[in-house]
């Protein structure tokens, strides 16, 4: 159910922008926040849609309950990988280097 009390504020816009990997300048935030509020208001209408249980379009299969919380990575991704994944320093996740036969 859509939470009608959902508060879209500048903090939420900054958080979503980080998830989307887009810098948002301070002078742009108000405009984006206001348009997000307007679009979310418009989408409230689908709250009245009845869920479909018996259908070939089985939305239950799309359940993502097991996914972890979204996390914003600050700073340099390489530092983050080194700090959090031991395997990274051991060469995992690296792109192979092409060695010429010549």
């Amino acid at each position: 159910m859509i939470d009608s009390s959902l508060k879209v504020d500048n903090q939420l816009v900054r958080h979503v922008a980080k998830l989307a990997k887009i810098s948002i300048h301070e002078d742009e935030i108000d405009q984006i926040r206001d348009s997000m509020i307007n679009i979310l208001e418009m989408t409230q209408q689908i709250e009245e849609v009845k869920s479909i249980k018996d259908t070939t379009f089985n939305t239950e299969a799309l359940s993502v309950d097991d996914l972890p919380e979204d996390e914003v990575v600050h700073g340099n991704l390489i530092d983050y990988m080194n700090d959090h994944f031991k395997q990274f320093s051991q060469g995992y996740f690296r792109v192979p280097t092409f060695v010429s036969d010549d």
Partner: protein, 484 residues
């Protein structure tokens, strides 16, 4: 003679005109009008004329392909090896693709020559062409007005006589709406009828490529070329190809046409209503019958679309990170800043707005309330259309709630802009084929008639449109170029 692909194809076969002469005719149109129209983003006269000369040589040597040497314009969403592909965005400025989209290849294999790439809303996100990084294309009927979108450049180019055909794409109405406001014919095929390989992805469950032409007969000829399963696109349908011209001459007598109540509510512009009523009378005169139908879930189409489409767009556009291709900012201190600043500078406001909305709708804690709910609503819309097509053969209504509007008039109000597609989005939700054909004028601007059939019934759709054009003249009207 240069009024339709069918006519030009005959003239070329009968040697009444050469491919070079035909190409020069179109290049003259472009050179004389496009400084103001801005319908094209790329042209290469030398390349186009070289292709035309080659086509003439092939014809002299007995090559009888019917469309050999006929020029085509591609919407800049289709990747092309021979010209840049920008998708109307700064982030893909000067991008050269290493391969051709399947649609582009199919037209190339049929012998058609590349005339240019058409302007469009950035990443097809818009209904007016105003979100293009390269400035808006203009409506050939009056240059202060929008040509619709997102395929505004394609529609304006065909209406202005730059070409007899342009490719286009339709995610929520982007072929039909500009075709309507520019007074040309546009077809959005069924989802899966035409390959999307090499058509830059926006909202993958809704996007569909198609064509804009002068006539329904030309649309049928072009759909014959581009239809079919493609192993590069798993969403193309495994079904036999059809000759869409075969039944064009069959009368509409006995067809049962549905008029959705939701298309004819009191807020429909009376001028648009009058044009549609006249079209209904024409069909009645041809022997079709009409019934009122109910598509109750259609009222959810705009809110549903503005959840599903941004969600898919936020995922599809994640690839533009300044690393693999496209624009890269020059002032980053680390990788994260490089991603974020490149995407900030490379995308326009509307694209950023939709990416943020989509990211939000898919983010932890909100997915069930937005995305899953929208999928339920989408299923209701599909079910409504299924019920309707158990009763009727064709659905008819206006393509747009209004004719063209002034550039800048709606750009500060995204919600009002989104409502431009209120009659077209449902078709994308259900994966149906739809067309817009010119049906009259309101305030000196063209008004489009929308026709919809059940999935993979393009043959019936094109026949219904062709029969209308056999008995009307609206598709023959040419712009007066007011304000030019």
């Amino acid at each position: 003679m240069i009024t339709s692909i069918a006519n030009v194809s005959r003239a070329l076969a009968e040697k009444k005109i050469s491919c070079v002469e035909l190409t020069e005719h179109f290049l003259t149109q472009i050179k004389s009008k496009d400084d103001k129209m801005n319908a094209l983003l790329h042209t290469d006269e030398e390349l186009t004329l070289a292709q035309a000369r080659e086509a003439d040589a092939l014809r002299s040597n007995g090559d009888q392909r019917p469309f050999l040497g006929i020029p085509i314009i591609h919407k800049d969403i289709f990747v092309t090896k021979d010209m840049p592909t920008t998708c109307g965005s700064k982030i893909l400025k000067d991008y050269m693709s290493p391969y051709n989209a399947t649609i582009v290849d199919k037209f190339h294999q049929s012998g058609m020559t590349l005339l240019g790439k058409a302007n469009m809303d950035e990443f097809a996100m818009g209904s007016s062409n105003e979100t293009s990084h390269y400035g808006p294309a203009r409506n050939p009927w009056h240059h202060d007005y929008v040509p619709g979108g997102s395929s505004g450049g394609s529609a304006a180019a065909v209406a202005a006589g730059y070409s007899l055909v342009a490719t286009a794409s339709d995610t929520g109405g982007s072929i039909r709406q500009p075709a309507s406001v520019c007074g040309v014919t546009g077809i959005k095929p069924s989802y899966g009828r035409v390959s999307r390989y090499g058509m830059i992805a926006f909202s993958s469950s809704l996007d569909q490529g198609g064509v804009i032409t002068k006539t329904a007969e030309d649309a049928a000829l072009m759909l014959n070329i581009i239809q079919g399963q493609d192993y590069h696109d798993a969403s193309t349908a495994k079904m036999p190809t059809e000759d869409f011209t075969r039944d064009l001459s069959v009368s509409v007598k006995g067809l049962k046409i549905g008029l959705p109540k939701q298309f004819f509510q009191s807020d429909l512009d009376p001028g648009i209503r009058t044009v549609i009523d006249e079209a209904i009378e024409l069909y009645k005169g041809l022997g079709a019958s009409f019934v009122s139908i109910d598509l109750p879930s259609l009222k959810y189409s705009i809110p549903t679309y503005y959840i599903i489409q941004p969600a898919e767009a936020s995922s599809n556009l994640a690839r533009y990170d300044g690393i693999r291709y496209g624009y890269r900012c020059g002032d980053a201190n680390n990788l994260q800043e490089l991603f974020m600043n490149s995407r900030h500078d490379g995308f326009g406001l509307e694209v950023k707005r939709r990416i943020l909305m989509g990211t939000f709708a898919l983010s932890s804690g909100h997915q069930d309330e937005f995305y899953k709910k929208a999928l339920h609503a989408r299923t209701h819309i599909c079910n409504d259309f299924n019920k309707a097509f158990a009763e009727v053969d064709v659905i008819l209504g206006p393509t747009c709630p209004r004719s063209s509007f002034k550039i800048g008039q709606l750009s500060d109000d995204p919600i009002l802009m989104y409502l431009s597609d209120i009659f077209t989005i449902g078709v994308n939700m259900a994966g149906l084929p739809g067309m817009s054909i010119p049906a009259g004028f309101h305030h000196e601007f063209p008004v489009g008639l929308q026709l919809i059939t059940n999935k993979f019934k393009e043959s019936l759709l094109l026949r219904t449109a062709h029969q209308f054009q056999l008995h009307s003249q609206w598709h023959l009207a040419t712009p007066k170029f007011l304000g030019y």
